[in-house]
């Protein structure tokens, strides 16, 4: 199967993964997968950005590959790489996670609107402007996001100026 992952395909893949796992895992989902599954935005994505808790990523990847073969999905249909950017998230991000799938072994939780907006600000890509505006229209707390990025700026985290500039453009 080629082409983007729709909500239906994502949930089917997560169910297929759930029956294969040999232990419990919590998946923290960001990126396009979170936008589709938690925030209801139709967009085109070829993978689910998901970081596992309670399981090593190499261990999970074995099952991901099994599902890829069985369901004719790309081999990295689920991958953890977005986690390398999560130093920008508030430490209490888990308070705003949204349950998007619960199986026998898997509990899949997507990042909340504010966290998604924070990550988009730090990515500051033109292609994210539409989705970032949509998150704001859906009620993402701009004051919270701005205040958090300002705190990161005080700490000296790189990229905060560009993130704030991106946010300013969205608000205008």
């Amino acid at each position: 199967m080629s082409g983007p992952l729709t909500e239906k395909i994502m949930l089917s893949a997560l169910r297929a993964l759930d029956v294969r796992l040999d232990g419990p895992v919590t998946l923290i989902i960001g990126g396009g997968g979170a936008m589709i599954l938690a925030h209801g935005f139709p967009l085109s994505t070829s993978d689910i950005d998901a970081f596992p808790k309670k399981m090593e990523i190499a261990q999970l990847d074995v099952f991901v590959k099994e599902v890829a073969r069985a369901e004719h999905l790309p081999p990295d249909w689920l991958n953890p790489y977005f986690s390398s950017f999560t130093h920008t998230l508030p430490s209490d991000y888990s308070d705003r996670l949204i349950l998007v799938f619960e199986g026998k072994r898997i509990e899949a939780l997507a990042l909340g609107k504010e966290e998604m907006l924070i990550m988009k600000c730090f990515a500051h890509r033109q292609k994210d402007v539409g989705h970032a505006r949509a998150l704001i229209k859906k009620g993402a707390d701009i004051g919270f996001v701005e205040s958090h990025i300002e705190k990161l700026k005080q700490k000296g985290i790189p990229g905060c100026e560009a993130a704030l500039d991106f946010l300013d453009e969205l608000i205008e």
Binding site: A58, S84, T86
Partner: protein, 238 residues
Amino acid sequence: MTGLEKVPSTDDVRKVYDILLAEKISGSIDLPEEMLALWTQWSRFDPRLAEILVEFFALNWEKIAPIALRKRLLLLPWPQAFGVLAENVTASGILSPDDRRTFQRWASTILSDTPPARFEQFFLGLRKIAGGEMLKDVLGSSKTYLKWGYFGRDLLVNKASHLPSRTLLSPETRRRLLHELMEGRERITVGDYQLALDYRVSRRQAEIDLSREKRLSPVGNTRGRFYRVTKNHFVKAD
């Protein structure tokens, strides 16, 4: 997000340790550039592999065809990962100054026109999301990572045998870490400071940093010198 199609397993990585150790013992290299390139990507999942590769490149770079390695790296998602390993080779004390310069030219050939990553954690899967250690990686990042758009603190050398020959942290980062070290302490030494920075500051630079810090008063003039921490920079020791 783009990355490797397959995450290396513990067994995959262990096999690479064995291969590289066997090459080290035999003294000959018979490794295709395709494998070396792939292992630089795997190093993002395993700091020990990263360390072994730094030593491997430091000892064998002259035997590796740079253009062949470059071509393989450019097919992979993170060619910048090789940049981090190369910076660690340069920063380590393994190469002589002359060899270090030639090595840098060799590495520059491989990495020419490669843009840095977009300021992300170098190591994958090792930190709690948004946790304290992840933040420390960002705030205390070494230049060896920052140059290639990554955050990381680990010195990728066997510290017992090869301490770095230069300072790897920016002045702002060193100042921040020094102030953290001074909290709640009455005195510190140059050694304390170097240890707190994980030896990513040279002794000479460490001495300069402590002598310039307004809240520190030096006591003694020999190598046994220590620095008394004052409450504010107007109060000096007798």
